[in-house]
Symmetry: D2
Subunit: 139 residues, 4 copies
């Protein structure tokens, strides 16, 4: 069992949204923030830098946005659905933009291929959390 799951299950208050999609989203954000930080750095280590400038940039943004989304979602005390929704929507957008850019380089660079996969998984997990949020009783 992951730490994210153990932490959520020992929280004194009931989660504001369905636990399954919430944990999936937190874990996908953790993986994606790490992959994006590492992919920006791996791109920076390549010999041919110019074609990777946009990839480095989108990875830096996506890494920051995923880290913040993970934190907002990890907080269940006095959960605010409006803030959670807005940050999840920003994360969906960042993952979509970054995943599409990484995908363009996936044939040349394995790190871009792995990062594109992490972005796609995170985009889907954030979309899943948004659905769970919409289905939850009014906050």
């Amino acid at each position: 069992m992951t730490y994210a799951k153990r932490m959520l299950e020992s929280h004194p208050r009931a989660a504001a949204v369905q636990v399954g999609p919430l944990i999936e989203c937190i874990e996908a954000c953790l993986d994606c923030t790490q992959s994006c930080t590492a992919c920006a750095d791996a791109c920076l280590g390549e010999v041919e830098l110019a074609p990777l400038v946009r990839c480095i940039r989108t990875c830096l943004d996506c890494g920051d946005i995923c880290a913040t989304t993970e934190r907002v979602l990890s907080r269940q005390t006095e959960f605010d659905a409006d803030v959670a929704r807005a940050v999840l929507e920003a994360c969906v957008q960042a993952c979509r933009t970054c995943g599409a850019e990484c995908e363009r380089h996936a044939g040349h660079h394995e790190h871009c291929r792995v990062c594109a996969e992490a972005c796609l998984r995170c985009e889907r997990a954030c979309t899943g959390a948004l659905s769970a949020l919409a289905a939850s009783p009014a906050d």
Copy 2:
């Protein structure tokens, strides 16, 4: 002249949006992330904690979201308007929620009054950056 202004003016590429609202937004986000971190901590140092639980929570979220927004806006190379817009909208929402909560305690705690002011200024600066973004030529 602030560092944010000097850094933006020495950037090799032209800014994707009007420089004035951009700098104002970056600086307001920097002040707001610091105020929110400090307000969450000051609330935690008060004797009567229970009424401040929601304030601590919203300050932690807002501090994280402002820090990320500042970073995304500080990057002008291969600027992506969709990602910038989404993160600015999340920041407007976080500042609105946190500012309203801090305002509720402004009569009792000076740190909440100052933080509410930082949130309101940041909300307006992000709204200003969103307008500048809408006015800029297609990305």
Copy 3:
């Protein structure tokens, strides 16, 4: 295979330190930053807040320091051993302080027990990375 491992193995440059301890450290930092964010929030959701004030504070610091350590270690291009060592030492100290505080509440709160475990694992993984760093050829 974790994303951290896949990203490191597809990096264009050889890792500056032994890959095993490096991956362990990155993954322990990711888990610990999440556990600390979640434990600060879970403490905030408890009815009896006063005895948990120091725990919330140390969790917030440790969560921030682990997140930064994970990022610095995830970057292998132009790795700087002095910066890596200093941030790892700060992380060891943060995990020790936070883990000891969480341990004090482990009997009462399961989230503190899990977080203490994450801190201890992260402290050890950072110590392991420091040893690997000391054993690596001069940078």
Copy 4:
């Protein structure tokens, strides 16, 4: 009066270290994290990228470490001198490494010159905060 000063002066508990050096350090960290984020991005926007790879890398590390140092120092409730000292020492090291690298490019790129200045100021402010910490009564 800056927000950092207003927040610190309205804190319910007395600051654990002398207020002057503390505020200077928080503000220098805020400026330096922004300058480093912006300098990494400005470097990425230059035509000749290869000579700037190490500068981008050190700016990314320094930006993360300054942001975390600012947060740890902004928290005065249940201040822990050991954690503060360790993170300040990491910040001194990061600013020294990054400032020296930026200085090497100061003749060619104004953004590197400004960032080198922000790093030097932050290194000194962190050293000042370490002295204030050493002078304060045992925690």
